[in-house]
Symmetry: C2
Subunit: 364 residues, 2 copies
């Protein structure tokens, strides 16, 4: 591969991070992203991202040590910026329905919602203490003192935007790069600027609009599954892509069999965007939990309350190998996913990108 | 421009239609698409499309004559496949709210819903009698006898798909090409295979998934506003693009001033997808009509009933130069729209495409 295989626009971000390919594996929280997956992506020349959002500082510390034992390449750790939890009482209708479902799968609903025993600040401490080279965050913007500390330590900081306004806010807050999350993306929406509403802008119009309004590199995500998607994202002006679903089916990921089967059998129209699993809009493959709960879409409590409430149900469903009451996060490209190692996937992506660009011709 | 400026994959469709550039101006029904716009796009080497969906056979005939007086290049006419109208009574809550709004803008609600005085078959007759070279349709698939007649007359037939299943159905029905409408697109969703639900797949994952499942050329639409978008669409495997919003602000289009201003001042997050204007999901810039009606989203009658009911309100609002009670159709890229002639726009798109591809490098 010649030194100008990737377009010049990718160089700044690749140099900043120290990655060969402008391919970032998205941090997929809740289990699927293992230290092995993160290290394999980084070893293959991309950037692996470890999701620390749900984890204690000790767990984050331990995962980082595992990643470091497997790679000396740069990698990212992702955290959730803290939510203003709405402590409203969960409506009786929601509790009744969840109780019925819990009975069916043999789960017990939590009696009370206990706060996590750690703070964002403590999680971030674990990231900083380990000198993690790249830090990404979702669901908002960390406090200015945290952003300053990250800059002081020369950490590359990536924020997540779902619209131009959020992208501009992230640049103003001092981010090194902005990940533009298109409406196609699997898992949670990163939206934070639109209270009560959320823009659902697709990757195709979102990427160039953010590129035109910020001066930092933009990372395109949402619906990218192969080298054609990477070529499209870079044509739109992105400096890199972030891919989640495509890495879910890698052998290094820890995806339970029912989820893997659901991905394999999915169609382009299989996913729904809903609050019923966690209280925050997220995209996943439609199953019975959605069908049972979707009538209560507007009534389920906000994240993280609904997330705590449904966790025992989702765990019990997974333990039984039953896909119907788990969250089966997936983006709208899930039907294009492939079973292979992360290294094989990165190699394919690079080669497919070359083919896609060659097909476009010289434009002359 | 050399003969291989456009990628080889575009050649089949360009040759079939007889267009120089793989750029189709989307048929935007309800007023904005004039014969002048259609002819200007075709004269510039793209394909103009005239929307006949709301028009009588005589009006379609007259428009085609006007187009033919302005160009000898190929152009398309688009029709809506007939709806199974649900003749359910409009809920009193909807009538009450519409009555209030009608009072505010000085409009009178229709006393009864009269059927149009013409059929799809008669509209199609006007298209066939005029030997229109390209026929596109939306909202379903014409009857097999109509598809046969179109093929017999060697008309290039383009159907509209919003998911892979619809794309496959269109190919099986004998379409010459499939327009893949991403969730970003302005105006009405073309979905027809999913009763009561609709997939909202973005252009980025929709295009390659349809390309992989049909053998006819695929036209990418939804959120494409400039040459970067065209390069992205072709990288995803499309044979051409279809652009609506980008042509709305062309000087040849008949877009009332309040709509033009709304487009000019729009953001990426300005649009909503809603049934409240016409009874069928459509994307437009959010205004007071949406805010007043959105609580009744699930209650408004199906298209075309709601369309008839709200038409006097939208007409009165437009007549007063008031953007708040019109339908302001727009895609998610509307903030990137430019004011110029259609010929200037096509020239810019071609040149920007060349620049975008050149930026990608050779991929080698």
């Amino acid at each position: 591969m010649s030194s100008d295989f990737w377009p010049a626009q990718t160089k700044k971000l690749r140099d900043m991070i120290g990655m060969e390919h402008p391919i970032i594996q998205a941090p997929m929280a809740g289990g699927p992203t293992t230290p092995e997956l993160v290290a394999a992506v980084s070893n293959a020349g991309g950037l692996g991202s470890y999701p620390g959002g749900y984890l204690s500082p000790d767990e984050i510390d331990s995962a980082i040590r595992k990643i470091r034992a497997l790679t000396d390449k740069p990698f990212a750790v992702n955290l959730f910026t803290p939510e203003k939890t709405l402590r409203r009482k969960t409506p009786a209708k929601v509790m009744k329905k969840l109780g019925e479902i819990a009975g069916e799968v043999g789960a017990e609903l939590p009696r009370e919602i206990a706060a996590e025993g750690f703070s964002f600040e403590e999680q971030l401490g674990a990231v900083l203490d380990n000198n993690v080279p790249v830090f990404s965050f979702t669901f908002g913007i960390p406090k200015s003192k945290h952003m300053k500390e990250l800059r002081r330590r020369k950490v590359t900081v990536i924020g997540t935007a779902t619209c131009v306004a959020e992208g501009v806010m992230l640049e103003e807050a001092g981010c090194s790069a902005v990940a533009a999350q298109g409406s196609e993306a699997g898992g949670h929406r990163g939206s934070f600027a639109h209270a009560g509403e959320f823009p659902l802008v697709g990757s195709m119009p979102l990427t160039p609009q953010i590129v035109d309004k910020v001066s930092v590199p933009v990372i395109c995500s949402g619906g990218i599954m192969d080298g054609r998607g990477i070529a499209a994202a870079l044509a739109l002006g992105a400096s890199a892509v972030q891919m989640g679903t495509a890495f879910l089916t890698c052998e290094e990921a820890a995806v339970p069999a029912p989820w893997l089967d659901a991905l394999r059998n999915s169609l382009d129209s299989s996913t729904v965007l809903t609050r019923v699993y966690t209280g925050k809009y997220a995209r996943g493959i439609r199953n019975r939990f959605y069908d049972e709960m979707s009538g209560l879409e507007g009534k389920v409590p906000a994240y993280p309350v609904q997330n705590y409430l449904t966790r025992p149900i989702r765990n019990a469903s997974r333990a039984k190998g039953n896909p119907e009451f788990m969250s089966l996060w997936a983006g709208q490209g899930s039907a294009m996913s492939r079973r292979c190692t992360a290294a094989e996937l990165v190699t394919m992506l690079v080669s497919e990108y070359g083919e896609a660009v060659a097909r476009l011709g010289g434009g002359a």
